[in-house]
Symmetry: C2
Subunit: 378 residues, 2 copies
């Protein structure tokens, strides 16, 4: 099988190296690169050279960003070429359009590398769904924010120091907003929900990050045997679904609370298989490159995921209802005392909690919010 | 595809139900059952009816035990029928023979359900190996012993009480020896090593269980922020390998230490993918039945694992070297003080530690031994 790679950054180079060294049945025939960076006879600056080449069976997109990735992926699928991508932003935004195009031309649209890096999470969900529905999923899907919490707890450093350390280690971007505001987890949660529930949910998703997390908050929850982690989750029940991204206070004896450094831990639950958890490197060029190559090999062996959005799962925020703690100087309606400086509101949906959080931020921009998991109610 | 099920206990019935309800492309055409239990037109008491039936493409063996399972599996493979089995004892004993027969007739020999129950562990190792070698694996592979330790820590009950509770809950057999003496983990470690390293290791495997574990031991390690778990593990390096089954003292902040009730947690490590962990139900009719059905669907889709034992990996116990703690009244050579009633011996191979343990048991039958993980050295 001949493939083309769009984008020759660390991931693209990693894919090229792994394929060349270890997958003799696949040939990296073309590489899309900027005109002033062409150093290899396989390289071209014209996407048309790739998409119109009948010898190219599969296109690997690892450029990132919405455009031109969106246009390139779509035209590859429409041209009858399989697509493998690590670009979570473009997949979260256009999953439905991509999946529909892939179904129409009978090609594979494979996205393992978008979510959970090297963890076989997407293929794992698909495998479970061959036998039964997935009831729910949740997990730590962002290594940067996990590292920040880990470092704050371990070294006693504050949020800013831990973020700087994460940046030094290459775990965080120079602009860390996508990580600490939950945008990265939002994209991965949309993708996970789409694969798990066949619902291309691009809206109705309350998203709260950990930008305002302080050592005081960690101590507060620590005194109640809990740790804060940024969690993406989704649930479906009786033709309805809900999804959310927010900090959650989890028992210190949970596996999630003990995930070190920048690792990810994602969980699904289904009726007969029960609870399955997957742990691994959620980012990095080698794990991500590895996930892309696994998708390429799967494609060669005939894997063709099919998404059926026709059943039109209804969004019902009532499915995710928790008690929420707000550490804030603002007045929060319906709240009762939790710990000094913090209040709790019982039985909110994630959407209601997000609205209260936004309201509180206006009066106190340092406000932090976390959901309590069932069984940890105040 | 038409299949036959050998053994109609809870797992066999679960497979029949899942296939019938959810996998329309597969038909359970025959079931091997005892003569006095035949209640269904698909049932026969004669294995010959099944193995000589050209319409049967695949045989599911879930009878357990060495014979007649060994003979039945082998004759199915030789007759060109795919085999899916949950029988860890027979696979651990005859892996090489089975894999060789399957390769000869070009059929699939699939064993997901033998190890880690519903956890996609075997397929996960195979998937990693499509790209690179697995350096090492380790994990909690036995739910009964995990439950016993969990219960001792959580409820403060002693070993016997916790074992009784495990038996009440259906987690432990009436004769719990295979679990608490590490035989079950031994079989799963052999199978994992065979899949991970292409080495059919049926000997040279030091096996120690947790039969002599006491609350005193858990307190002793607890005071040093460690928990004891029964661990199966294997490592390969430069054409050599080592495997062991023994109690290990793990940091309380490790994921392994926080695995609750009867769950399993298995880990592999490979150069580019890094550390991957899989968590789930390691036993039970539904997860095990689920794993069998996944293998059947994989087989239908063309999965044909190939094992290559020809490279003849050499056994080298030196690859697994740890410090070992012995809680014993016996005198242990080379030991120094660790805690009251307990000594430590540094830098033993698992084989050397097992020999010292057997020696100590002669003088003090209550002796308990645990390996310290690297970084936890005394």
């Amino acid at each position: 099988m001949k493939i083309a790679i769009l984008g020759y950054g660390t991931v693209g180079r990693g894919v090229d190296r792994i394929i060349t060294e270890r997958v003799p049945s696949v040939e990296v025939a073309r590489i899309l690169e900027l005109p002033d960076r062409i150093t290899d006879p396989r390289m071209t600056a014209s996407y048309d050279d790739i998409v119109s080449d009948p010898d190219i069976d599969l296109v690997v997109e690892c450029m990132g960003g919405l455009e031109p990735s969106h246009t390139y992926i779509l035209s590859a699928l429409n041209a009858g070429k399989h697509v493998v991508t690590s670009n979570k932003a473009v997949v979260a935004a256009y999953f439905n359009e991509f999946a529909t195009a892939a179904t129409k031309t009978g090609v594979a649209f494979l996205i393992e590398a978008t979510t959970g890096g090297g963890i076989p999470w997407i293929a794992g969900i698909e495998k479970v769904r061959r036998i039964e529905d997935v009831n729910s999923f949740y997990g730590i899907m962002n290594g940067t924010t996990n590292y920040i919490v880990y470092s704050m707890l371990k070294d006693g450093s504050d949020f800013g120091e831990s973020l700087s350390k994460a940046q030094e280690l290459g775990y965080a971007e120079r602009d860390p907003s996508a990580d600490i505001d939950g945008i990265d987890v939002r994209n991965k949660t949309i993708i996970s929900a789409t694969v798990a529930f066949d619902v291309a949910c691009t809206q109705d998703l309350p998203v709260t990050g950990i930008r305002t997390l302080t050592k005081y908050d960690l101590d507060l929850f620590g005194s109640r045997d809990m740790t804060v982690k940024l969690i993406g989750r989704g649930v479906q029940k009786d033709g309805r679904y809900a999804v959310a991204v927010e900090p959650m206070a989890l028992p210190t004896a949970s596996l999630e609370a003990n995930v070190p450094t920048n690792f990810n831990l994602v969980t699904l639950d289904a009726p007969s298989i029960g609870t399955l958890k997957y742990y691994g490197q959620g980012a990095g060029s080698l794990p991500t490159g590895n996930a892309i190559v696994q998708d390429i090999i799967d494609c060669e062996q005939g894997r063709r995921p099919v998404y059926d959005f026709s059943r039109g799962l209804a969004y019902d925020p009532d499915l995710l209802r928790s008690d929420y703690v707000f550490r804030t100087d603002a007045s929060v309606s319906g709240a009762s005392f939790y710990e000094p400086g913090a209040v709790v509101v019982k039985g909110l949906t994630a959407v209601e909690a997000r609205a209260k959080f936004e309201e509180a931020l206006k009066a106190d921009p340092t406000t932090f919010m976390a959901a309590l998991v069932a069984g940890q109610e105040s």
